[in-house]
Subunit: 331 residues, 2 copies
């Protein structure tokens, strides 16, 4: 009986120079722009006939933003090579990002083809916005190096990448991908289990479905829905997540007081989402999780931090006029 040792991903995340991007839609093209801006050599392939022009247009549109964000030394749009075949694109890659359309069979097939053509030990990540890797890695010869690396649109601007493996993924490949994305300037959440839709998509999907219900019932217009977020909770969420934000609604009593006060309204018919049972265990998990996330900061600290942040966001998004930009801003 022989077993193959788990592949050690190669090269080290810090040593990657050549990245391959498969798929040139909004997400694939966004990844191309991101990796170019971070100074990588990028090869790209897409079955579309006009892919070179399309990618050039996407990169050109993103480049001013990327320049403002700060380019890595040597970064250039000219370090992109569009190849005629998938195999050419990934054949010498040190990391592969797949961003094909969201169709399970297509992804399965493509990941198997990438796996067959990419050098041994190279990690291959899928941008899928919801499929578990377990369902996508079924036909690849080496499923151990296949991970999900789920970005947010636009990938060159929104830091978050959610990283998770499938049942047949090697834990070392998940760890390697998380580290690589960090080196490449992303903000990484590594998940220890597969949840369809991962984390942020489940959250924004819940909001999105509720919004669709409101539109379907004529309860609010698209414009009202968008304004209700950008003028309301959205201003906070750029600065502090929904959990800590709600903790602040509890005043000096924090999340516990908030749950005492608003917990019962989980039962009121405010959304079409079935509410979880707010039992003792969930109550305590939420309170403890907020304490942990606060990391020693008091409610007053968090209030001050949020306030400064929201003001800055208001100013940054042009909702404060120049006269309210005082010299006395301590930051």
């Amino acid at each position: 009986m022989t077993t193959t040792a788990p592949t050690t991903p190669l090269p080290a995340p810090e040593d990657v120079r050549r990245v391959a991007c498969v798929g040139a839609g909004v997400i694939g093209g966004g990844w191309v722009a991101h990796f170019l801006a971070r100074g990588y050599d990028v090869t790209a392939w897409d079955p579309a006939p006009d892919v070179a022009q399309k990618l050039r247009r996407l990169v050109d549109a993103a480049w001013p933003a990327l320049t403002l964000l700060g380019l890595a030394g040597g970064a250039s749009p000219d370090r992109l090579t569009v190849t005629a075949t998938l195999e050419q694109a990934v054949g010498e890659a040190e990391f592969v990002q797949e961003s094909a359309p969201e169709k399970l069979d297509l992804k399965r097939d493509l990941l198997a083809r990438i796996d067959a053509a990419a050098p041994p030990g190279v990690v291959i990540a899928s941008s899928t916005s919801g499929y578990p890797m377990t369902d996508m890695q079924t036909t690849a010869a080496d499923p151990s190096r296949l991970v999900v690396g789920h970005p947010f649109n636009p990938p060159y601007l929104i830091p978050l990448v959610e990283v998770v493996g499938g049942e047949r993924t090697d834990a070392a490949a998940v760890a390697w991908a998380s580290r690589f994305y960090e080196v490449a300037g992303k903000s990484v959440i590594t998940m220890d289990r597969e949840v369809p839709g991962f984390i942020a998509n489940r959250l924004q999907e819940a909001l999105w479905r509720e919004a669709l219900h409101m539109v379907a019932n004529g309860e609010a217009t698209v414009r009202d829905i968008d304004a209700s977020i950008t003028e309301g909770p959205g201003l906070r969420w750029a600065v502090m997540g929904p959990m800590l934000t709600f903790a602040l609604a509890g005043g000096e009593g924090g999340m516990a007081h908030m749950l005492d006060h608003f917990g019962p309204s989980l039962k009121s018919p405010w959304t079409r989402l079935q509410a979880p049972e707010l039992d003792r265990e969930l109550y305590e998990a939420v309170v403890a999780g907020c304490d942990e996330a606060a990391d020693g900061r008091s409610i007053a600290d968090l209030v001050a931090e949020r306030d400064r942040g929201v003001i800055d966001v208001l100013r940054a998004t042009g909702r404060l006029d120049a006269t309210s930009d005082p010299k006395g801003d301590p930051r």
Copy 2:
């Protein structure tokens, strides 16, 4: 048979000088701070024994932020008068904001008492985060002047106020309140019907419930949930609402392409929220609503606008270092 003519709210929204705030919790105190900063004389009452100190603490904590936002001429924390009785607080008010705890009987009773003591023609608004005014105005002698004016925490910083009347509210009172809040520096959404939870609360409650499900099932930590928003969709939502944000996920095809591509995933088990039927009518309403909200801006315009905004938000929230603050920023 005699009928009383509908009361014309008094004075004009632009002429209000004296505002009464009933309730001195996080929301009531936040309203006090907001109205003081906008230069109003504020009277406040709360049954708590230490209400004067409590309000002073809340106002002092908010004042640095309000100073950064820009104070109205003559604005001062000293223009707050804490009264011994509810009747003293509202007896000479030109507008009343009620922010009592979220208990229906309590709100009913309090609104009836405020109505009995406030001058005729003065509009009375409730900060309720979810009760329809129809359910709260049952015992007041003059229900026609009772409206919902639902703020977001903190009311001195988040612009949004949702305004809606109950079945017995005079339409003139709703219009007056919307105009008054605008004069007082708020961003107003006036709703033409009662929806429990209004708009933004339904949206953020959907997200909140999904987050609670994730915590309950051990799928994500509070910290992960918050990071998934602040590093991901939250950065966009401070700049552009969820509908237009998703429209941009459709690339140059906008919302229609997005629905073509991702519509089927409404049926996938990404959230515990039951999905609406994406029928032709909803499809067209969403697409048309996005077109309307775009107001002539092309997808490329919106992309450029979002990119500039998100960069500014990144910089504003300290996620860009000083070296990436170029002189060439066109704004």
